[in-house]
Symmetry: C2
Subunit: 354 residues, 2 copies
């Protein structure tokens, strides 16, 4: 499928099903809307999947990995080799995302969208690795475009295809995650360009750079934006000039959720950047998105406000990997259960009026 | 056991285990403390249970029910008969707490601490009912004391005993919940007296009274405080004059957590009032408490600030029944898993330094 075909195949969520779901909520054996956001989430699930009995039991986290040329400009506290080492840790089952996904019975699918090392496609204890490598890391966008326009489109399509395969296997709820040393820098750049905010406002310390590192990081991002001059109205141009392969693939997974009418939970700052690219291509995708959490990374809340999404959790997390999305899936599943399982006043034979 | 024996048997959580747990967190294969509050919660679990491998797999919600004489003064949007009808709904498994407890594999234990109708002790589809009735509802505290001092002490001891039995059965994590038409009024009164804030600041609309009802509610609470003149320094006096049986029993369950060194998750506004009574008797109980969520009920945040507790969730919920505690248990269990299951940098063979 081409990007144009995907975009033209996306429809808004059903307002009619949301309205019907609200009527059902009003009859539940409790004071009106007493479960607050759980009702809102449950009703959105109804609108997304065009049903009053939404199911999100089959869950997966798609953790997309890529390397970043900008690491050479000293923007990260960790060496670039950690990207591949963490992919191996995911496959061993020993990272944060493995633990939180296991707790909710969700699969972990790791996608190599463009890391430097070669790790063979495999299914192992911690999850499944699918290799969809676009290149061995991006260019240093403070000196050159991160990738070509064709590579940007390819990243989006590969993310779309990976999510499509999962939905075809029966998946009901997909969370996005990321791994890529240096990837808060392209995410900040994408946010600054698309939302039109100063780089300093939307740039944080990522994995924990010190004051000097933070200064270097902001300067490299600003230099990259100035040099590449991305067109804010053209998301493919933004992605190719200052983005990352995993960010493009996350955008593709977001588009797939909207195309196949499945809910997507985005994680933190990097998934937020992916959602910004998808939203730029097709604004209605936000109908299908849940923001798992508000990350502790400075500027993440600016992305969520721009997308019009309220974070489900706010636990000062900033790990990435999809951890915030995985933890929030419990709340989303609770919301689906509230729609399906709580009795009405009538069914419970409980008095409603004095 | 007497109340004095219970209080004198309570020790602070172990600072030494918290410090050891922090050292373990610092080695995990992620940027420093990148899972934010999950680390804080996990380390507190270590301090509570004096271990570096905390387990909270065996979970239960103790949903304590009582009736309230003050309903006669027009403070609630629902008739008093709903208290007993909801207890029956819990036993059928059709209420909010059943659904959220089932999702996390937690038992629901319903305790009749003083509802008007007689419902036989039983184990059924939705949970177990234990009958520990102190009286058939409290007195209308806007006209007389809610209960005698002996009844107040008895409510606390019965809550303590119920929790004690659960811990002796192997329970690792206990959530408190409540059911009682009218019980936001005594909870507001307890908060106003103990925290010394105006009634209007700490009183909300409960199950949803209208403007007139809200006015009536505030006036009844103020009249009750003026008439009974509870001594803020004497929690038993406060509980007996303006409290409720389920609130006293929740205080007892909180004391039991601290006494048996087990974590307790409090739910919303009514559990908050119970925690205030327990804290008045023995301030160190907060070492053992987690605040499941910030309720949408006005004034709940004032209680949490007074107790020094940060809510885990903030989802605009205000149902009670223990629903906020149940939903938060997933996050607490995640925190325990983070302590136990994530590899260190060394174990994962991931590079830490450039």
């Amino acid at each position: 499928m081409t990007l144009e075909q995907i975009i033209s195949g996306i429809e808004a969520a059903s307002k009619d099903f949301v309205a019907q779901a609200r009527s059902r909520t009003a009859k539940l054996v409790m004071p009106q809307r007493a479960l607050g956001d759980l009702h809102v989430i449950g009703e959105r699930l109804c609108g997304i999947s065009r049903t009053l009995t939404p199911s999100v039991k089959k869950k997966a986290l798609l953790v997309i990995a890529g390397d970043h040329g900008i690491v050479a400009s000293g923007v990260s506290a960790y060496p670039q080799v950690v990207t591949g080492e963490m992919v191996k840790t995911f496959l061993r089952g020993g990272a944060g995302i493995n633990v939180l996904a296991h707790q909710i019975g969700a699969q972990v699918i790791v996608m190599d969208a463009g890391i430097i090392p070669d790790i063979p496609q495999q299914t192992s204890e911690g999850g499944r690795l699918i290799v969809r490598k676009i290149a061995r890391g991006t260019g240093d966008f403070s000196k050159e475009p991160a990738m070509t326009r064709d590579q940007a489109e390819s990243a989006i399509l590969k993310g779309f295809e990976a999510a499509k395969e999962l939905f075809e296997e029966g998946l009901e709820l997909l969370g996005t995650g990321d791994m890529g040393i240096g990837n808060t820098s392209p995410s900040s750049a994408i946010g600054a360009v698309i939302i039109r905010v100063p780089v300093e406002r939307i740039t944080g310390r990522g994995t924990g750079v010190d004051d000097d590192g933070f200064q270097r990081k902001c300067e490299a991002i600003k230099r990259g934006i100035e040099l590449n001059n991305p067109n804010a109205e053209d998301p493919l141009d933004v992605l190719s000039k200052v983005g990352g392969f995993e960010i493009g693939a996350i955008a593709g997974a977001v588009l797939a959720g909207a195309f196949f009418k499945k809910p997507i939970v985005i994680d933190g700052f990097i998934s937020g950047a992916g959602a910004l690219i998808a939203h730029g291509l097709c604004p209605v995708v936000t109908d299908y998105l849940f923001a798992g959490h508000k990350s502790a990374e400075q500027g993440h809340h600016i992305m969520l406000e721009y997308l019009g999404l309220s974070p489900i959790l706010d636990l000062e997390m900033r790990l990435g990997e999809g951890t915030g999305a995985a933890l929030a899936m419990h709340v989303i599943e609770a919301a689906a259960r509230v729609m399906n399982e709580i009795l009405t006043f009538e069914e419970a034979e409980v008095s409603k009026d004095k």
